[in-house]
Symmetry: C2
């Protein structure tokens, strides 16, 4: 059984400002909790007896039994599941020279949390070295981002940065922008080191970041759609880079 | 001003069975309405005076002014927008021999409406000739599908079919399944005629449909993610086919 104070604490974490102040993110649902437990990304699990009997919580993670009624009060979702978990936000710091090595995916103004999550999953599939998120991207620690990333959230090195400034560093590898105009993506080659910039579907790459791009590539269009989904575009570029 | 009966009719269209019986779909929001008006896919527009003053409704489409209060009662969304529109469902019939010509994207059990919409947009971008949806895919005419397709819904020839049966037709071109195992997608070549089968992210291609696949391709993985989003996988295959 949970104390009133414990339930109030979980409820308070519904507010982004409280999660930020505590440095804690919240996820709910059996699938994402299992993925993030496996990835070692969680610190507390609040679950019904039924869930606890069927699942193993590794040592070092607090497991607390909670009734369905308590879960309904603590949950952040309209339809509570049988498990809610918390984890510590990790905010690695981008160091000088990091971008000069390996493959970086830079997200410029991707505001839809589902898209950000899917982009993390793409970066994970293709084994990219890191993801940069501009400050106007969806927050990395929202439940929607974490759920859409399908566990990739815990495996990808993601940094929230002032993007144009980060792309002004010395000794950067090619900065490749994905745009409606540019070289055919099939001519991208397979650079070992590169930054791939993906803008939002509506507005494309922002003017400040555009000024840092050294090469534009485009995915040829054969039909009527005005744009491709940002995660779809990023995946096509990554596939060409990794599997030339 | 709308009659009570007119508001009731729009409210009743919240239920899928009523939309199916009337053969009508509903969309809401300025962006999707503008896209579908441009594509000639709508028959009625219910909008606030402010919207009607800023937008042009083409001849042949009924335009009805509606107050914010009426919209709140008619809308299908928790947060109504200033425009709601209806269109006739079109259900083209797949004919013998259709699949033998051109490129077909076949969706097997894609239940998430956002994914189905994004897949329609991918098919539109790459100018595919048609999309088949298995009977357990998300309904083609739900608002979520139409919104996620960003207008591609109105440009793509989409057929809901018993998929395994449809893929048993004579004279089919190669039926290429996208799977976790198979030839490297970069060796896919550029067949002018082909069917590309995409399964659900969780379960992959169903056993019955799998039996109709003549060739499997895979997108090589370099990192930790267990799967790729279905629309992402389809887009990579289409890019390789169209832009070899």
């Amino acid at each position: 059984m949970l104390s009133k104070a414990a339930i109030r604490r979980l409820r308070d974490l519904r507010e982004k400002k409280n999660r930020e102040a505590a440095g804690v993110f919240v996820v709910e649902g059996g699938k994402v909790v299992a993925e993030l437990l496996a990835a070692g990304a969680l610190s507390e699990v609040f679950a019904t007896r039924a869930w606890l009997e069927k699942n193993t919580v590794p040592p070092g993670v607090a497991a607390v039994e909670i009734s369905a009624g308590e879960m309904a009060r603590a949950s952040h979702l309209p339809t509570p599941s049988d498990v809610l978990a918390t984890g510590q936000m990790r905010r690695p710091v981008l160091r000088d020279g990091d971008l000069s090595r390996g493959l970086t995916l830079a997200l410029d103004g991707i505001q839809d949390p589902g898209n950000v999550g899917t982009l993390l999953r793409v970066a994970d599939w293709f084994g990219l070295d890191r993801v940069l998120l501009s400050e106007d991207c969806a927050g990395l620690f929202s439940q929607k981002v974490v759920n859409a990333s399908m566990g990739s959230f815990a495996r990808v090195n993601a940094f929230r940065v002032p993007l144009a400034a980060a792309l002004s560093a010395d000794n950067l590898p090619p900065v490749i922008g994905c745009d409606l105009r540019g070289e055919n993506v099939r001519s991208i080659g397979a650079p070992a080191d590169a930054v791939i910039v993906i803008g939002s579907e509506g507005r494309g790459i922002s003017p400040e970041v555009r000024g840092r791009v050294t090469r534009f590539v485009t995915i040829p269009r054969f039909g009527g759609a005005e744009s491709l989904n940002a995660a779809v575009a990023a995946a096509i570029v990554c596939d060409r880079l990794r599997n030339p």
